[in-house]
Amino acid sequence: MSLTDSDAKIDAREPATSLAAVETPFSRFVADYFESRIATGALAVLVLIICLALLAPLLAPQNPYNLAEVDVLDSRLPPASVGMAGYTYWLGTDGAGRDLLSAILYGLRISLLVGVASCLIATIIGAVIGLTAAYAGGRVENLLMRLVDLQLSLPAILIALILIAMLGKGVDKVIIALVTVQWAYYARTVRGTALAELNKEYVEAARCLGFSHTRIVFKQILPNCLPPLIVVATIQAAHAIALEATLSFLGVGLPRTEPSLGLLISNGFEYMLSGKYWISFIPGVVLLITIMAINLVGDQLRDVLNPRLKR
């Protein structure tokens, strides 16, 4: 429990009479972030995962989707077993004889790509809508916010299923579904922050100086909206990846030609009951670590950027 009395706080924060090294907000943010060892670890893991995913074609010992490289007689081998060609499958093989390590690397790549792409698109759309709503005000804002509320009151998976039911399957349809599910969070966040910023005096000053609307919005308001936006984006990225995996698992997500981790897990489902757990288990662990790393980073970002939490 901490104090609510302001006395001690005011005095403890009075600056020393001599100026120490000048601290920019950014360097303070970085220092605050790395205060948590867990968050630092999570960030490291995340960077590692991204590197692995980007470099998958170079790192994977086998291209699992090149039929020439796959030997079906090697199928369903447990981890660390040696295959027909004397090649060690470190993580085992799946039902079709594909090296699980390679499959996971490629799957990771696709999962991340789809998740991040949808997140970015949704961020842009949501930010634009949120800024418009805040800046325009009046009926425009009302209409847009009603839309946002409607969107947010429905569960993500339902919306995704509806869209895919209507649009059909395919990578682009999945991305559209993911974007549709996410944009409302960004719109709401940005609108809230933008509204608060609009009331501040520097905006009024800018108007008095005759700055154009676009300039005010993009150069002054938007930068201040970025911190909460980043936090929301991080957490939503994790959701998007999880949602895509779920959809793929259910068979309504990415097509078989672009197998994400969800599909890999789904493929292994049938082998579960016969004890060949690794086909589903290991991709699942990789997915879990990815999502957890993103969540931990997002958590720390939120704590660091939140002025209301007394630390």
Partner: protein
């Protein structure tokens, strides 16, 4: 209070209307409306006859009116696969889904609130850190994967619990549920746990955040200055303030639970609405899809309304029309 309720009911009706318009026009605009009502497997001549009979060559708003009229009478189309009215097919499976969702909700409350409270009251304790770490893991775990793992561990390896299906049911107070039989509970446990996992993490984090924020408030300090026991402060002062946001979120999440049961039902072969929907999407049984969506939306708005009313009951500051100064 009644004025408030009436207003909310009107809003609810509006939302359902809007949603029905969106669903209806959505399906019509995106796909060929014919296939909504007519089985594409039929013969070409039969298709044309059906088109005329169903008025599909009429302008679209007429079709919508026709649809609404049918809907209000309970006719939401006929399933291609089952050959029965879509509404019947869905309603048959609703109890199973509701049972699962309620069980998951109960688990979330019973497990989540005490754990979250502990983590909020004693944040430095080792157990609290484990709880918080656990909640992050629980939050990040993809539900479907957890389901698989649960089956693997408890059904395949340990053999304690059955892996799929729903157990026998019993009826008490007019409610038929498998939770009323011991055998049924065995079947219910894993799916409910699977569904509840995300919510447990959510409740833990919410309760903990609420506890931390409330502890810093002056009224807690005042309660201590009054010499109240720690137990009373937590039970009465703290809990009531925390419960308000927790209940609100949980109430809204109940709708999410029902929607998300899709995944759990698929894995555990639980005969509910969710599994039906997935099957319908995969087999393009469009009447079922449309009917399912409408019902879910209806459920949603009703739940929202109930939560709103519950909120006014819990938080006296929100109650309208009882001012005495």
């Amino acid at each position: 209070m009644t004025a408030y309720l009436l207003r909310r009911l009107m809003q609810t009706a509006v939302v359902v209307m809007v949603m029905s318009v969106i669903v209806f026009f959505g399906v019509h605009v995106i796909g060929d409306p014919v296939w909504l009502l007519v089985n594409p497997q039929m013969d070409q001549r039969d298709i044309e006859a059906a088109v005329r009979a169903l008025g599909l060559d009429r302008p679209i708003w007429e079709q919508y009116v026709y649809f609404v009229r049918g809907a209000l009478q309970g006719d939401l189309g006929r399933s291609f696969i089952f050959g029965e009215p879509a509404l019947t097919v869905i309603v048959q499976r609703m109890p199973a889904t509701l049972e699962l969702a309620v069980a998951a909700l109960v688990m979330a409350i019973v497990i989540g609130i005490p754990l979250g409270l502990y983590a909020g009251l004693k944040p430095q304790h080792a157990l609290s850190k484990i709880i918080m770490a656990g909640s992050i893991v629980g939050f990040s775990l993809p539900t479907f994967w957890v389901g698989l793992m649960l089956i693997m561990v408890f059904a395949v390896m340990l053999g304690w619990l059955p892996s799929t299906g729903r157990g026998p049911t019993a009826t008490y107070f007019g409610i038929t549920s498998s939770a009323f039989t011991l055998e049924g509970l065995r079947y219910l446990f894993l799916p409910a746990l699977n569904l509840a996992l995300l919510k447990i993490s959510l409740v833990i984090r919410l309760t903990r955040a609420g506890a931390r924020e409330s502890l810093q408030q002056d009224y807690i300090k005042f309660a201590r200055a009054k010499g109240l026991t720690h137990g009373r402060i937590v039970r009465v002062h703290l809990l009531k303030n925390i419960l308000i946001p927790v209940v609100t979120v949980l109430g809204l999440e109940f709708g999410n639970l029902i929607a998300f049961s899709v995944v759990t039902e698929t894995i555990f072969a639980w005969p509910g609405m969710g599994k039906l929907l997935i099957g319908a999407i995969q087999t393009l049984d469009r009447p079922v899809i449309v009917a399912h969506l409408i019902i879910i939306v209806l459920l949603f708005v009703v739940i929202n309304l109930v939560v709103d009313v519950l909120y006014t009951v819990l938080d006296p500051r929100v109650r309208v029309g009882r001012q005495t100064a």
